[in-house]
Structure formats: C-alpha cells, structure tokens
Symmetry: C2
C-alpha cells in the first residue's frame, strides 16, 4: 500500500478529487475549481462579479518556526491567499481565520499573530468576519479562508494560455526562505488588477512552489508546453538560476499574453510600476510527447526528500 510520502502533491490531489461527486448546482457554475489558485464560482446572475474562494494554511515547522516573530506569522498567513486572489485578477473581500496553538502558547503570542493579520487586512481592504481557535496537540497552525470577486471579463485562470503566448514573471525569484522575504512579501494585488483590466492576459498564477514546479502546472492546465530561457530568469541577488527555479515562496505573478501585446505591456509596465521588474522568460509552445520537462522541481509537500 503506497505511502503518501512517495506521492507528489499534484498526483495526490488528482487521485483524491476523482472520488468526489461531479456536476453543478443549478444556477451555480464552477468556472474554475480544484487545480487553480482559487475556486471561481458564478453565484450571482449574468453580469454579477464572479465569486473567488480560497483557503490556505501555514504550519509551524513547515511555513514558519517557533522562533518566527508572530506578527510575521499573521502577515504571511493572510498574504498567501491574497496572492492567490491576485493571481485571478481579483479583489479580496472577507476572511475567516482558524488559529490552533499549543495550550502553552501565551496570550501575547496569539495577539501578535492577530496584529499581523490585522495589519495585512487593513492594508489590502479585507474584513476578517469570523473563525475559531483550537488547542493544537503539537505545533501551531493558522488557516485562512478568503473570499473575493472579479469581473467575469477580467478573471484570469491557469488554463487560457495558447501556443505562442509570451511568458512573464514579476519581481525576482529565489532566496525567499533565506532572505526572510517569505515572511513579509507584498501580494501583487494591485499589479494583477492593473494587468487584467488593461491587457488580454491569457493565463496567470502566483509563484508559490518555484517556477520549476509552477510553470509546468500552468502549461498543463492550458494544454500546451513551454520553453523557458534559463538565462533570462530574473534571480534575486545571491540566488542562482537553480535557486530561482526551485526555492519557492516567491509570491510573484507568472502570466502569459499574446505576443502582439508585449511591446505595449513592457512600455506601460515600466511607466506604472517602475520599481517592480517585469521579465519575459519564455514562450508557450506546442505539446509534444517526447519533449523533456525543463523543470527541475520545486517544493512539493509530498515529494520524497531530496
């Protein structure tokens, strides 16, 4: 009987989702479900914004340590799902928070986590409308549910990429865990909304597990392959190209766009976001069976240790 440790997360999720009832609730179309950054649901009528729904969890010992300042734990816990809302071109609305701590944790520790959550909520216009606390038998964890909305004509998913589209990434990649950026990154909400409202972005996602693992996901969802120009990958100072591919937790945007738009995009971007790098790293290409996978792997929750 196979153990989960031998399974990749993507394969595991696919094996599990296979067991669920299919079909749609009358009047409630599922635009994007499992496998995209957020679920995208039509719950209002035609013309109403689409509903976005995301849950994300940070675990002590995996996403932070007992030594991480609790303010940063709270910030990170809310900013991770905010980055997924950004990936759809969406606007965040409401959040629920589940905080589980060992019984030995102090009230000041819990309060500082909430201060971190509150700071992020304030900055990005989110209202935290509920949640629960629980005693954790071992390390702590924080789970955040986030809703959002996006205009139907602007919603970006992973699946719209077409052969020939240019592949872009924002910012620089690699080193997030060693520099501590994974604890205080700024989700690209503003940039993403600007993008989808001005340019025909064909597919988008956020980079949480490293370009080497996330790029194949976007390509698979779009039914295409891709060529990444390794030397073009924008590396964080001190990081190698392999680090940029593998480290993960960059929380930058990865998106594709028709090549006809790329000059206008690069010019307007520089004008509007002069402090945030935008780099064309490759092109979507046709699927071919004997083509090797240029990715070298990122962080996979159920992958064997490397």
């Amino acid at each position: 009987m196979p153990e989960l440790a031998g399974y990749g997360e993507d394969r595991l999720v696919a094996a599990l989702l296979d067991r669920l009832p299919r079909g749609v609730i009358a009047g409630h179309e599922i635009i994007a479900g499992a496998g995209d950054d957020c679920a995208v649901l039509r719950v209002g009528g035609e013309g109403a914004p689409l509903q976005l729904l995301k849950t994300d969890c940070v675990l002590e010992g995996v996403h932070y340590t007992a030594q991480t300042p609790p303010l940063k734990v709270g910030w990170k816990a809310l900013c991770r799902p905010l980055s997924d809302i950004a990936a759809m071109g969406g606007r965040p609305l409401h959040a629920l928070v589940t905080l589980a701590l060992p019984g030995t944790a102090t009230l000041d520790y819990a309060r500082a986590i909430y201060d971190g959550l509150g700071t992020a909520a304030e900055r990005f216009g989110v209202r935290i409308v509920g949640g629960e606390t629980a005693r954790s038998p071992s390390g702590g964890f924080l789970s955040v549910v986030l809703t959002g909305e996006v205009d139907a004509r602007h919603a970006a998913t992973r699946s719209g990429g077409r052969v020939g589209d240019a592949i872009y990434v924002t910012g620089t990649l690699g080193g997030s865990l060693t520099t501590g950026r994974h604890l205080d990154f700024v989700p690209r909400l503003e940039e993403a909304r600007w993008l989808v409202s001005r340019f025909p972005v064909s597919a988008m996602m956020d980079l949480s597990d490293g370009l080497g693992r996330d790029m194949p996901r976007l390509a698979r969802a779009s039914g295409v392959s891709y060529v990444i120009e390794r030397p073009h990958i924008p590396c964080t100072s001190g990081s190698s190209i392999d680090d940029a591919l593998q480290d993960g937790e960059d929380y930058e945007l990865l998106f594709t766009i028709h090549p006809a738009s790329h000059d206008a995009l690069e010019r307007d971007w520089l004008d509007r976001w002069p402090d945030l790098k935008l780099t064309r790293v490759g092109t979507l290409s046709p699927l071919s069976k004997d083509e090797g996978d240029p990715s070298v792997g990122g962080y996979d929750h159920f992958a064997p240790c490397r």
Copy 2:
C-alpha cells in the same frame, strides 16, 4: 504573561478580534460576523440571497483518533460546518478541503477520508471545488470551508431572541462521544430550512459544545437571560442531565420562537418530522445582574482540564 490554557475560547476570540480593523467594505454589509455559527454577508444586491461562510477543522487527537475509520473522519469533517449552515436556516453550496496527514499515512487512508467527504457532499448537495494537501509534522487534520446562501427574510442568527420566547432543542442530548454519534450524525439542514420558512424563529444555533455552554452564548448574543427546566432536557438513552448539558457534539438545533407560535410548531413538527424529537426546554428571561448562570459548562478548547 497568561497562557492560553487559562483562557476560555469565547474570551480568547473576543480578545483577539478586538485587534482587527473595523468597518465595512462598501456595498458588502456584514449581517453576522465572528461569534455566530457562520458569517452572514450581503455581497449581492437587495433581494439577492445572503452569503454564508464557515470554516471548521477536525484534528486527530481532539475530534477523532488514529483508530477512527477514515470514512467517518471525512463524513464528520464536512457535516460539522453543514450543521452551522443549518443553524442559519441556510442551503450549502461549495466547499474547499485542506487535508494534512503525516508522511507515513497511506494513500488508501487519504482516499477513504475523501470517500467520507464525497458521501456527505452527495447527500447534502455540496460541491467540493478545491483545497490542498499538506504534510503534517504530527497528527492529521482536515479543515473544511463551506459557503451557503439563505434568503434574507429567513436567515436565523443567535442574536434575535426576545424575553418570553420559548426555547426548543431537536433530538436528544448527551453521550455523542461515547456512542460514536459524533462521527455519523446527520446535520439538521432539512429541518432547519423547514423551520425558518414556516415559523418566526427568533434565534438559532447548533449544539456543538453542549447545551450548558451553547445556551449562554445564544442568550448573550440576544442580550437576554434564560431559564432551562432541567427535568425537561431530552437526554440520550444512557446519559444523565449533566451529560446532556456538558458532553457536547450533539449537532442538534437550539432555537427560540415567540410563545404564540409554539402550539402550531409542536403540532406541525410532529406531523412533518415524526421521527425526530422536538422539546421545549425553557424560556428566555430578562437579564438581571445577580442572577446565577445555570450552565454547568461544556467542552471549551482552552478551558483548564476538569
């Protein structure tokens, strides 16, 4: 510096929520937030159903054990938040599932959990539209996000109870943990929707922590006190009245209704739900400062061990 173990969950949640930004997102009224069974949000226009949002988590070692059949773990994980949607008189829509298991867990174990989730989803018309898996450093846990909707004129919260209203509970209370009912209970979705569409239910919640702890919550939210006739409390066979007050995990409905409706309610209930007991257990009464709290406590995640 106080440790969390000395704090009750209610007090802790209040201390934490105090730190969050207040106010409402334009056009997105918060009808009920932290402190009710679900968040109740107006995200559509006037006349559109209200959005319900709930997250709930089951932890190995707290809500189930390593020996619990995984099918039942999945069932319970979805049915707990379904019981909260029921408490608002709502209809469930979509769910996201986070499954964290130790790396030594088997694929069959994970699949059986999903079979339990899928069985409950099928039965109650829920679509699971995403989620994630993670490796847990110790015991497993399952976190479920559930959305739902309810007609604005039928939404039941904890805060509408008025002095003189009759207090009712469905089913029998106590013994859920010893009989195993906490693993295979049926959330009272149908009964609750029937209730709110036919009777002026003034306040409602589901009984998860025991009548002794949940009744004071409903009364506090409604700004009233209450008198419970202990001998009237419907006990599960083999359970004492103290068990019925304290055991928790009953997942029955606790609701209040104007006394003018109680004859019609009792008659129609018997007709429509002949197999589910409905019991009047007391009356909402005026607040008085020197009145003792008749509750004897239920399970509180941060209460000291008794």
